[in-house]
């Protein structure tokens, strides 16, 4: 009897959790019919926001991948004094409130800032804000992914005549690939939803700096249908990212499971 009661409690908690988390997502689609959603996609506000988001996300993630991957590889494969300090510095934006990140970017790149640039309130500012808040997520995951590559495989590549570059491209990169993809999916999702740092550093100017999340906020008082339509689009994109993330993770796991594992007899 007691066992049944316990199970009923667990089941009730699970159903409440599920309902609470799914309901808002379902509500968006019950309030906006597919027809309205399709029609709103040709709304210039939505259109502009889509283009700004796509451009800045693409550029920001290219920046994150091109600079973050070598950074992570270096930090994963070298041990040096102050390494953990460097890693902590890279992780700091993760825990920083987005508004603080925005102010920081302003005083770093603003006209009155450290670097005296005219970047603020341009599309470049959006790209930088997105890269700033999403990059650390990727670098963190990438360090872990490179650290998980068996060092003996890197050694084996070197003894087979591969220099550092060939070893990186033929061994480390493909083996860390799943982890890198998973990290990038998270960074992509975080960047796409970026709001606080962007509005502080780049403003919310339609066609220039107004991304999808900023457009939701701007349209909120004006046209609720637009808000819902953008919401619907973002839900679909986010779901796609989640699926991609799961695929990347399972691919990594299957690759690791295929490696030969045996009770190791250690010798030095």
């Amino acid at each position: 009897m007691r066992r049944v009661a316990f199970f009923a409690l667990v089941l009730a908690a699970t159903l409440t959790t599920l309902g609470f988390l799914v309901l808002p997502v379902v509500a968006i689609f019950t309030h906006v019919s597919p027809v309205t959603l399709a029609r709103q996609l040709s709304n210039p506000v939505v259109d502009d926001a889509l283009v700004v988001s796509a451009k800045t996300t693409f550029l920001a993630q290219a920046l994150v991948l091109l600079l973050g991957t070598p950074t992570a590889y270096l930090l994963a494969s070298r041990r040096f004094r102050g390494r953990s300090l460097v890693v902590t510095a890279i992780e700091l934006p993760l825990v920083l409130p987005p508004a603080v990140a925005g102010i920081g970017l302003l005083v770093a790149f603003g006209r009155m800032g450290l670097l005296h640039t005219s970047i603020p309130f341009t599309q470049t500012a959006v790209t930088l804000a997105v890269a700033f808040v999403s990059g650390p997520l990727y670098v963190r995951a990438a360090i872990a992914a490179f650290e998980a590559v068996d060092p003996a495989l890197v050694d084996a590549a070197r003894t087979l005549g591969a220099g550092p570059a060939r070893t990186f491209f033929r061994v480390a990169l493909p083996l860390a690939g799943g982890g890198l993809a998973a990290g990038e999916a998270l960074a992509f999702a975080r960047g796409l939803g970026e709001f606080g740092a962007t509005i502080m550093f780049a403003g919310s100017l339609q066609h220039v700096t107004q991304t999808l999340p900023l457009a939701i906020y701007a349209a909120f008082d004006v046209d609720f249908d637009v808000t819902l339509a953008i919401g619907g689009v973002l839900v679909l994109v986010s779901a796609a990212i989640l699926v991609a993330l799961k695929l990347a993770t399972s691919w990594t796991l299957s690759l690791q499971a295929s490696g030969f594992r045996f009770a190791p007899s250690t010798s030095t």
């Binding site: 050694d155 084996a156 087979l160 007899s265 010798s267 030095t268």
Partner: protein, 339 residues
Amino acid sequence: MDALTAGLRVPLRAFDVDLTLEVEGTVALVGPSGAGKSTVLRAVAGLVRPAAGRVALGGDVWFDERTWLRPDERPIGMTFQQYALFPHLTVRQNVAFGARGEVEGLLDRFGLARLAGTRPGSLSGGEQQRVALARALARRPRLLLLDEPLAALDAHTRATVRAELREVLRSSGLPTLLVTHDFEDAASLADLVGVVVEGRLRQLASPSDLVARPADAFVGSLTGANLLRGLAGPSAGGLTELRLDGGGVVYSTDVLEGTGAAVVYPWDVTLARTAPDDSAQNHVAADVGSVSRIGNRVRVSVGPLTAEVTAESAERLAVREGERLVATWKATATRLVAL
């Protein structure tokens, strides 16, 4: 073939690896785990940079005060403890990774043609070992470095793979430095065996010399068994007889046909002035080659065999070099391994 000369000092956390080696033919380093054996291999390969020393193959210097060649610049073929096959590449791609010549012939030679398209994860331990060797040899190396080549295998596969490996080492003719924690593996594969303890070379000698004349009690305990090579075949009473290469016959309860070796532990061998009339099947009458005392025990080499008896028994028998003795042991205390 060029010989490898290596003088190395590599500081580790607990001790320094500090030794000098010359490798012609096959040299095995044995010792307990954590003795610094693998560090020696890694330093020769260039994966670890020694604090001081000199590494050269023939006239080519790889490391000294002025020279440092990176691992990819050294003509070596190395295999690793867990083989370190690339899990994302097929067998063929693994073998081709550093290949200087054609790959298909090597795949054929190592019986891997059928498996060429598969990934290493689905191979057995013995097959992985062959891929690792083929991959190392594909680079046309001038020196082979093998780190615990048999440790990852179960006892059954191990004997077969050991025989295969012996054949590969013999036919390649390359100077080979290998590392193992198992004296039997070392004795069956190498011409010379070096015992490494805490980074130092305690003794470097032929396997039979190590058994007969261990430098100290530790070497004595590590170098377990006599290894007597010969040709095995069935004999009366369900026993196997091994016709020794050096003459004589040894009987064993193990089953084996073809070339192999008898493994006999020195403490299973008794000594007498005349052949005793007892249940033991194996008797070897020969002159005493050497007498070495280790603690309260004495190692006595009689012909191809070494016996270990108590100091007291050695005294009672008045064992002296050059005298004729009979060594006796049971067929049940005779393990046979394929070679």
